[in-house]
Symmetry: C2
Subunit: 428 residues, 2 copies
Amino acid sequence: MAVRAGIVVTGTEVLTGRVGDRNGPWLAEELRTQGVDVGAVVVVGDRPEDLRAALAFLAGSGVALVITSGGLGPTADDLTAAVVGDFQGRPSAVDPALEERIAAIVARLGARRGWAMDPVATAAGVAKQARVPAGATVLEPVGTAPGLVVPVAEGRSGPPVLVLPGPPGELQGMWPAALASEPVRTVLAGAPELRQRTLRLWGTPESELAATLRRVGDQLAGLEVTTCLRDGELEIVTRFGPDAEAAHERLQAAVTGDFGDTLFSSDGATVDEQVAAALAERGWTVAVGESCTGGLLTGRLTAAPGSSAAVLGGVTAYADRAKEQLLGVPGAVLGTVGAVSPEVALALAEGARDRFGADLGLGATGIAGPGGGTADKPVGTVHLAAVGPAGTAVRSIVLGGSRDAVRQRTTTLALHLLRQLLLGGPPA
Amino acid sequence: MAVRAGIVVTGTEVLTGRVGDRNGPWLAEELRTQGVDVGAVVVVGDRPEDLRAALAFLAGSGVALVITSGGLGPTADDLTAAVVGDFQGRPSAVDPALEERIAAIVARLGARRGWAMDPVATAAGVAKQARVPAGATVLEPVGTAPGLVVPVAEGRSGPPVLVLPGPPGELQGMWPAALASEPVRTVLAGAPELRQRTLRLWGTPESELAATLRRVGDQLAGLEVTTCLRDGELEIVTRFGPDAEAAHERLQAAVTGDFGDTLFSSDGATVDEQVAAALAERGWTVAVGESCTGGLLTGRLTAAPGSSAAVLGGVTAYADRAKEQLLGVPGAVLGTVGAVSPEVALALAEGARDRFGADLGLGATGIAGPGGGTADKPVGTVHLAAVGPAGTAVRSIVLGGSRDAVRQRTTTLALHLLRQLLLGGPPA
């Protein structure tokens, strides 16, 4: 029987999408590596009654642990600690020693950032952040807010609530201390191993995969299989206990048999990771010449630590003049076939390779929209090219969706084109 | 009394963070413009019992409408329609006319994308997607999946459930039809107006704002005020009914009085929007020379439709050689003060302006980490420069956080530096 946890993410800014939630998914993945399965993430605004309802829902759903993120700041709308204390039947009071430690942190931070701090306001904020429910374990602040582990009051039953700060850096920094706290250790001690594997297909429609899953469905007992289509990649994730390893192998064999030509990853590696590893192995460098992706293609290639060893840089050239002057795209080509063409994608790739002195060049041009489309070249028209020691690859496509979606999906296509040039396998 | 809705986002890929949820926030904001307040967004995986529990939680919380997103695909793990039908007491069956319409869509899509489609597998997927709970309203597919409006069975009480597809483009495309459906119209008819305003401060610590909010707290009846600190911007969002407009004005007056020098937006406009508007108004162009941000700064400037009119492009130059050759950063400067210096930030900005022939140039250099830091220049060291007809602005700072966070926050700093050069106001 799996041990389960529930997560409450607080903050009206998250509920309304002004800030994307990064904590729920991060916690879900961390818990999974500990053998704990997350059943639900509930996002609520900064309203005490909504937070209380979410706590009651999760605590009543049979989970062994509830985790909250956010609502620990100095402002009055940050109310998680007090609400959790009440919910667990443990009234809060200021912890004077903690108050001193937080005051010292705030003073240090203010001095470093050059803040003009009003002493009364600061003291009120610190006192609020130092309020601790009776009997709770304090987790030392990573920013200014302490975390808390709040067991249910004696004589009542229910899971402990782990209270963590909202900023992802603070939450992640506090996680080791949370895992080491006695109530959390007790929960984890009961958790079995929970494995996860990911297979990735490039260009296979979801309906084809569904047929395979139906055919072998009765051989997959013990596996939780989920599939997800994104930017042309079809991801198959299985989660299972150690005794279902053979079932996972049966699934993998069936997928490999049916889709061997589009299966590009069976060890969880993303196309980004495969490209980075292939570049490192060969000692090759790459440079980008891009237009419709506006810098995002270079941004994606440089997202991983250490990428500057292989990625020399890129040029975003919107204007034709910039394509000519910075990347040497011939004016005659621009004049005849136009900037949105396979020829210009190739010239962008070659220009980037030459100007940066890289081994490989990657070029992207297209119409991200929503304006700029024509009957011949509708919005979503994209041309990509990759050039390198092993040859040349070009791809043209018309993508659907918003400007954002076209830009994003074009970077995925470009990564697959580069992968194809480096490793062979499924055509981009 | 506000009319409230609850949202269930389904999908193990969302729960585990492989895909970020964009639907919950989008729906929350759309509902707000209709006067409907969202109390909670519950994210669950592809498990029927978890989806059922989430529906029960929200339906039991007194909301007037429950909305689900996702789980309408052709694979067996997509089970939302059937679970919602059962939950509402309405058994599902295949709708033959709908089945034909979906089959036609799938055939058209397959032909366009060149899919090799197995007819049996395709038919099984189509039949699954054409199952409709008895008495439900069908919303025509935008992709391949229809939406549903499922009222509770006669003789039982509970809110209607609006079932929408997971891909954001499909969900958003179906929204007008959902609003026009009779059960949703009935809910909206009871909703009062709900206003929202946003004030943005640049560089004010949250504790200072907390003091102001405490001081005027008793004059703010009827306002829901939330604050959020992100990348150095402090956002104050108020939500209220029309009768609390005066209370909002009192809050705005207090914030303006206390933080007039850091209040850069009181009409909801972001720094990105202000920069774009200022460039358009003056007819000026801009180009970017960036290093540590790896293309993301250009990517951010080009995110909005039509940005290519003002943004000529950018160069990402990681290697010193690229900084020299593509942006004319003097080798002597790189050799003496090093690539991570205010001098090089300025040379990047000037080089980008000159090479692209732009009116303004923006330069960014720094150490995004996690490697590459030294005692003198720790990870997070960032230098920014903006040059233009109105002068020059330079900013140096040491940022905390992960590689991602440093890259992201540097783009925000650069936008504020550009804003300062264009509009004056709070220093970046």
